[in-house]
């Protein structure tokens, strides 16, 4: 369970560039919740993610994951429990290292033993990595010794997804992780995402600019504007909602039209 309790963050306070990126945001995600977030440009979606991952510390408020207060927990400590996928497929993997080595790094999360520092990738682990790669159906299981830099963006993002969920995270953050991929690959990665989340009941937050996805994926939809969550819908009410309704709601609550220049209204 993730509890974000009245979190605020102002960048460059006291200067002309002052920007209130998060304004008293509160959000509770129950175990197994899968919420999608849509919002205008600069609404604070990515900032919210970065606050949760610990990229910066918030000015005010608390962030609690599974009962543990992580507000001032360091980023690499949080990432033991939080999986994070970026929009840029190049950010999630180390290009000069092989597929196998990348997966071994992701698997580090599982080991809590200190003496594991000097251990090498075992045959058993290699077999396990190979089996998991085979599930992607991209032929990557036969390219384990190749550097990741040779893979396409879609393949890299699929690999990143696999790595982020190799050890089931307590929270998965997806920051428009299919936006930079071509439509066919994006569909594939998205289907894979849905499958993994459903199978393991991972608690998940996903930023998207695709209004169709915002309503069809997961069980909750959030809309953000000006650093605040302006609209929140779930359950039966959400099922009845159309994209037009969603835009209407946004206009009513935020006092303006949704101005995201990349927004996709169609499927």
């Amino acid at each position: 369970m993730l509890v974000i309790d009245s979190v605020s963050k102002t960048f460059n306070p006291g200067t002309v560039n002052e920007k209130k990126a998060l304004d008293n945001v509160s959000l509770t995600l129950e175990d197994g919740d899968f919420a999608t977030i849509v919002g205008s440009n600069g609404a604070g979606k990515s900032t919210l993610f970065h606050a949760v991952t610990g990229n910066f510390f918030v000015d005010d408020g608390r962030i609690v994951l599974d009962g543990e207060d992580i507000t001032y927990c360091k980023e690499h400590m949080r990432s033991k429990a939080i999986g994070h996928l970026f929009q840029d497929p190049l950010k999630g993997t180390a290009p000069h290292m092989t597929i196998e080595e990348n997966m071994a790094l992701a698997y580090l999360r599982a080991s809590t033993k200190k003496h594991a520092y000097f251990s090498r990738i075992s045959g058993n682990e290699k077999k396990k990595f190979r089996e998991q790669l085979a599930l992607l159906d991209m032929g990557l299981e036969n390219r384990m010794k190749q550097p990741v830099g040779l893979l396409s963006g879609g393949q890299r993002q699929a690999l990143t997804l696999l790595m982020a969920t190799m050890v089931t995270p307590r929270l998965l953050l997806l920051d428009e992780h299919t936006a930079a991929l071509d439509p066919a690959t994006a569909d594939k990665v998205l289907a894979l995402t849905e499958k993994i989340i459903a199978e393991r009941k991972i608690t998940c937050l996903m930023v998207t600019h695709n209004m169709h996805q915002a309503l069809s994926l997961g069980n909750r939809t959030l809309m953000m504007d000006g650093g605040r969550i302006v609209f929140h819908v779930s359950g039966e009410e959400r099922k009845k909602l159309t994209i037009e309704d969603l835009l209407e709601q946004f206009k009513a609550r935020a006092g303006k039209r949704l101005d995201n220049d990349r927004i996709l209204l169609s499927k």
Binding site: T53, N55, K74, E75, H76, M77, S79, K80, G83, H84, F86, L90, K91, G92, T93, A94, P95, H96, M97, E101, N102, A104, L105, A106, L108, R109, S111, A116, Y117, F118, S119, R120, I121, M163, A164
Partner: protein, 317 residues
């Protein structure tokens, strides 16, 4: 070739090449793998030589290596501490430590600017007693140096494939990924720089015992020389796994020494050696780029010739 290179010149080039290969390996670790330009290398090399020389003087030539590596680790730790915990930019951290090390080195050498080891045992003189018979009588120095370099290379290659080594490599390769995957990049930078500086100091001690002296200015320009070796090595092997790259770095260092030996044979005065080094480095770094350019111009030339032919063919029709 035999008139330019005598066997003894070849041998001493190989010996020096292998000694300096350790610094090149250190730079491989800090500059290539961690992506940090560690400018404390010059000072650290002298530190290794100074500490090693003093311990050797006191009658412990083998212990000298471990003492020097210990000193190197301390120096690397300070550099890493400045950049990871004090917010000093990495290049500045190296320069600061390098400056400070000058005083430290002088102090280690009992406030004199050089120390000589002619009167005491070194690992080479110890080995000479045992290895001075048979065909290898002239080669015993090279054998020892080669053994040390090979052991270091194998250990480094094994280390870089452990989980710790993988984490260090990822830290230099993709910062975002590391932060998102429970690795503490600050710790990895610290470990990496400590290991790199231990190698640099090891090289310093080895050189000190090899030439039986230590001088305060010994390390000047070491970064440039090591960088040249590293880049020549990379040009030699291009792609491949870590073991292959390590072999490349060692070969690069030897090749660099051959080039220097060649320059000396062509009566380049010893004072001009630093300039020769700088020119070699510049050429080595520019070489891959120039090669790419030349391919471009060659292809464009071919393309234009074909176009011209087609044009003239069209006109004649």
């Amino acid at each position: 070739m035999s008139t330019i290179f005598t066997l003894s010149i070849l041998r001493s080039a190989l010996e020096l090449g292998c000694i300096y290969a350790l610094v090149a390996l250190a730079l491989f670790l800090s500059f290539r793998i961690l992506n940090i330009a560690d400018l404390s290398t010059d000072g650290c090399f002298t530190l290794g030589c100074a500490v090693g020389a003093m311990v050797t003087l006191s009658g412990h030539p083998v212990l000298a290596f471990f003492a020097a590596m210990g000193a190197g680790i301390c120096s690397g730790f300070v550099t890493a501490f400045l950049q990871t915990r004090m917010g000093v930019p990495s290049i500045l951290a190296g320069i600061i430590v390098n400056t400070g090390l000058y005083t430290v080195n002088i102090a280690v050498m009992d406030f004199s600017s050089n120390v000589n080891l002619f009167a005491c045992d070194t690992i080479f003189s110890l080995a000479k007693e045992k290895l001075s018979y048979g065909w290898y009588a002239d080669w015993y120095k090279l054998l020892i140096i080669l053994a040390i370099v090979i052991i270091t290379g194998v250990l480094l290659s094994l280390f870089l494939n452990t989980r710790l080594g993988l984490s260090i490599r990822a830290t230099g390769d993709n910062e975002y990924m590391v932060r998102a995957s429970s690795i503490n990049p600050l710790f990895m930078i610290t470990v990496g720089l400590c290991a790199a500086n231990a190698l640099t100091a090891l090289s310093g001690t080895l050189l000190g015992q090899y030439q039986k002296s230590c001088d305060i200015n010994l390390g000047t320009g070491m970064v440039t020389i090591a960088l040249a070796s590293l880049i020549i090595g990379e040009t030699l092997v291009r792609k491949g796994g870590i073991p292959r790259k390590i072999v490349g770095v060692i070969l690069g260092s030897c090749l660099y020494r051959f080039i220097v030996a060649l320059a000396l044979r062509m009566n380049v005065p010893a004072e001009a050696l630093k300039l020769v080094s700088a020119i070699i480095v510049a050429i080595a770094i520019a070489f891959p780029y120039l090669k790419e350019k030349s391919t471009f111009y060659r292809q464009r030339g071919i393309h234009r010739r074909i176009c011209r032919k087609e044009e003239s063919a069209n006109v004649s029709h």
